[in-house]
């Protein structure tokens, strides 16, 4: 039997044929013969690989799994020489996905372990058969035929999985509470209202591997005894909503959703509900209010959703990522999952790297990895080789972590001890040109805007903090402001009704804790060390470097610059609006900020 070291699958989809796929195939065969490779490399015809209109003629090379696209007959000799003789992937022929997908999820970087992201970019999310081919719905099969609901809960418990939405509550425990509640009907809800600025992991999973989430929810429903589920997805994710709906429809057609799933007497169905632009609806009780058609206002707990949730019935609500990992835990076993991570924070977590870092995008790493490794090894370091200043973890309810804590391991307890939280996984990296007062103000502006308004500490408290921060950034900081901010932070955290208010002060609190001197400079010296806050900076011409070319004066929108040709120019600080255009257009680096 002939043994081939490499297989080439070439698409003979009609659209590819129209674009010359057969000629490419013939050219490839000829070239392989010429190079003496035709006994080692086999060419096979297949149906569509990538979207033929964008990628045809295209082909896949195995075992590497490289997808080459838009090939012409002339490309073939070079391709064969590079890939099959020299063993080098030819990057210029590799299929480029959409600019967004390409930029945000490339090949795994050093130290990554992809579990939740394992199928993303590799399967067609609109084709359930591809999910099944990657062992999809096998876990469900095992669960429904071999395990009791209690068995399922025990396995999830021993895996050590903690809720990936941010709070990190042990998932198995949460399921056991809903199971223990007697009242029916019970509901399974997926929180897909990923609103944290800087977090887009959930979006990617929903758009690229929706069935992982669906399967996880069905398993959860079996475990707690539910027959109806909802995925609450934010309206800002239209593609995710569309992909989910297609996936649910296909799952129904295959008998994974609906009545008597896989021939058992377990029935469960799923519906997608869209949000309407309210960050607070990511909070579990506000989310349930929203599904009920009301304002997204949180409710006090107890009673917890597991006892009285959606429509006042026992409900289990988990994040997208939590459900997405469940099928793999059920398939590969809880010990496998628990072998990764730290003692109290098991498994892997997806993170979204954003901000001033070279490699922005999605990553998945085992918990316990340090911040330094994430920023510099996985993230490639700071963009433009500037200095690192701080990293914000956990979204707007999280805290800023400075350089001296960079060797902190990323796990639930360590981040909490530093004043931050794990949150949903957004990591915003900030370079040394960031003003920490401005950033704290920025986050407070966001949370203040998104506050639902129901409880006084949050509604009024965040506004007061914002007013003080605005004053400080404008140069009107007063003695006593720092102490007042600290007091407000403490009280708002203590007294707010829900996680939004309880976490809103974190950016301010950590900024005060680690960057107090910046606040003091703003207040007592009316100076912004990072040279960001408009009212506290002055643009000045460096007279020795200025050649008097007048480019800056001509571009100044408020004619604040005066000077004769060939004479050093002068910027009038009273007229200058600090737009920075003069510095941008100066060809002699003769303008700086003081």
């Amino acid at each position: 039997m002939p043994f081939f070291r490499s297989h080439v699958l070439i698409s003979v989809d009609p659209e590819c044929l129209k674009r010359g796929a057969h000629d490419v195939m013939d050219a490839l065969q000829d070239e392989l013969v010429q190079q003496g490779l035709n006994e080692e490399v086999q060419i096979l015809e297949t149906s569509r690989i990538g979207d033929p209109i964008h990628f045809g003629p295209d082909l896949m090379v195995y075992p590497e799994g490289v997808h080459y696209a838009n090939l012409s007959v002339d490309d073939i000799p070079f391709l064969v020489e590079e890939h099959f003789l020299k063993g080098r992937v030819v990057n210029k022929f590799v299929a480029q996905e959409s600019i967004i997908a390409d930029e945000e999820l490339g090949m795994p970087k050093a130290k990554e372990i992809r579990i939740v992201l394992k199928n993303c970019g590799k399967i067609d999310p609109n084709n359930i058969e591809e999910y099944i081919a990657e062992d999809g719905y096998m876990a469900l099969g095992r669960v429904l035929t071999e395990l009791s609901p209690e068995d399922v809960i025990n396995e999830v418990l021993s895996s050590g999985l903690r809720g990936r939405g941010g709070a990190g509550f042990p998932t198995g425990k949460k399921w056991s509470f809903a199971r223990a509640s007697a009242s029916t009907p019970k509901y399974v809800i997926c929180n897909a209202d990923e609103g944290d600025p800087g977090a887009f992991m959930n979006r990617r999973v929903l758009e690229s591997d929706p069935h992982a989430v669906v399967e996880g929810m069905i398993i959860a429903a079996y475990a707690i005894g539910s027959s109806q589920g909802y995925v609450y997805c934010r309206a800002e994710y239209p593609l995710a909503v569309k992909t989910l709906n297609i996936a649910i429809q296909q799952a129904r057609e295959f008998g994974f959703l609906g009545k008597n799933i896989m021939g058992t007497d377990f029935s469960f169905d799923l519906e997608v509900r869209m949000g309407a632009g309210a960050f607070v609806c990511g909070e579990e009780t506000a989310l349930m209010s929203s599904i009920e058609g009301k304002r997204g206002e949180p409710r006090p707990r107890p009673p917890f959703p597991a006892v009285r949730g959606l429509f006042m019935q026992p409900s289990n609500i988990n994040n997208v990522e939590t459900y997405a990992v469940v099928p793999q835990i059920m398939l590969r076993g809880p010990e496998w999952y628990a072998s990764m991570g730290t003692e109290k924070s098991k498994g892997t977590k997806t993170f979204a790297l954003a901000g001033d870092v070279k490699n922005t995008g999605l990553i998945e790493v085992p918990l316990g990895i340090t911040l330094r490794e994430i920023i510099f090894d996985v993230g490639g370091g700071i963009k433009d080789n500037k200095g690192f200043k701080a990293i914000q973890t956990g979204g707007p309810m999280g805290g800023m972590i400075p350089t001296k804590l960079l060797d902190l391991p990323i796990d639930y307890e360590s981040l909490a001890s530093a004043g931050s939280i794990m949150g949903s996984g957004g990591l915003i990296v900030m370079d040394d040109e960031t003003c920490m007062v401005d950033i704290a103000r920025f986050f407070m502006d966001f949370t203040q805007d998104e506050s639902c308004g129901k409880c006084v500490p949050c509604r009024v408290g965040t506004r007061r903090i914002l007013e003080i921060l605005n004053r400080i950034c404008e140069g009107n900081g007063r003695d006593g402001d720092i102490e007042l901010l600290e007091k407000l932070c403490y009280e708002i955290k203590r007294d707010s009704l829900c996680g939004l208010g309880q976490g809103a002060p974190n950016p301010v609190e950590t900024a005060l804790k680690y960057f107090r001197e910046e606040f003091e400079a703003h207040i007592y010296e009316k100076r912004c060390p990072a040279k960001v806050c408009r009212n506290l900076i002055t643009y000045e011409v460096i007279t020795d470097a200025c050649t008097g070319c007048t480019v800056c004066a001509r571009n100044c929108p408020v004619t604040a610059i005066s000077g004769e040709r060939r004479q050093p120019h002068l910027i009038d600080p009273d007229v200058c609006i600090r737009c920075g255009i003069c510095m941008q257009v100066c060809n002699f680096n003769a303008i700086h900020i003081i």
């Binding site: 944290d196 887009f200 869209m274 309407a276 632009g277 979204a352 914000q392 639902c452």
Partner: protein
């Protein structure tokens, strides 16, 4: 966006169609308002009245929901709606300069509509494409890695 003007009979038709599509139970209120907002461009007063009648809800409840969610608008909007992400990741990668240039080009501030009703400018919270910030969305088109100098060209695509 389909209807710019707000003829009562046209609105009635849209409302009836949408309520029939989703069903007239209370928990369908947000999907219904979302769909009507999408079709009409915003939620005129007449809509709130009609929806409250069909769903048998007090008008105050419908209004309280319509004004809570950022994607629902009770004010008319321009032919093209520009959404600018004002969240931190877009901010730290140069968002502020893009925002200022946008306001300059259009001569309006956040929440306003140009006099000729062509543009409405609103700020939104994170859209979840932070890897390509700063981000501008015009109608259903998303633009990533936007620089201030690209704006005039981007805006010129819309009539």
């Amino acid at each position: 966006m389909v209807l710019g003007a707000t003829h009562r009979s046209d609105i009635e038709e849209v409302v009836n169609e949408v309520v029939q599509q989703y069903g007239s139970s209370r928990d369908e209120l947000i999907p219904i308002l979302n769909e009507i907002n999408r079709k009409v461009g915003f939620l005129p007063n007449g809509v709130l009245e009609m929806v409250s009648k069909q769903l048998k809800l007090p008008q105050s409840k419908v209004l309280s929901v319509a004004t809570f969610y950022q994607m629902l608008s009770t004010k008319p909007r321009g032919r093209h709606v520009i959404q600018f992400c004002e969240s931190a990741p877009c901010h730290v990668t140069g968002g502020r300069q893009v925002w200022e240039r946008l306001q300059e080009e259009l001569n309006i501030k956040a929440g306003e509509t140009t006099e000729d009703d062509k543009w409405s400018l609103i700020t939104v919270s994170c859209l979840g494409v932070c890897g390509v910030g700063p981000v501008v969305v015009i109608d259903e088109d998303l633009y990533g890695n936007v620089t201030p100098d690209q704006l005039p060209e981007i805006l010129s695509h819309y009539s």
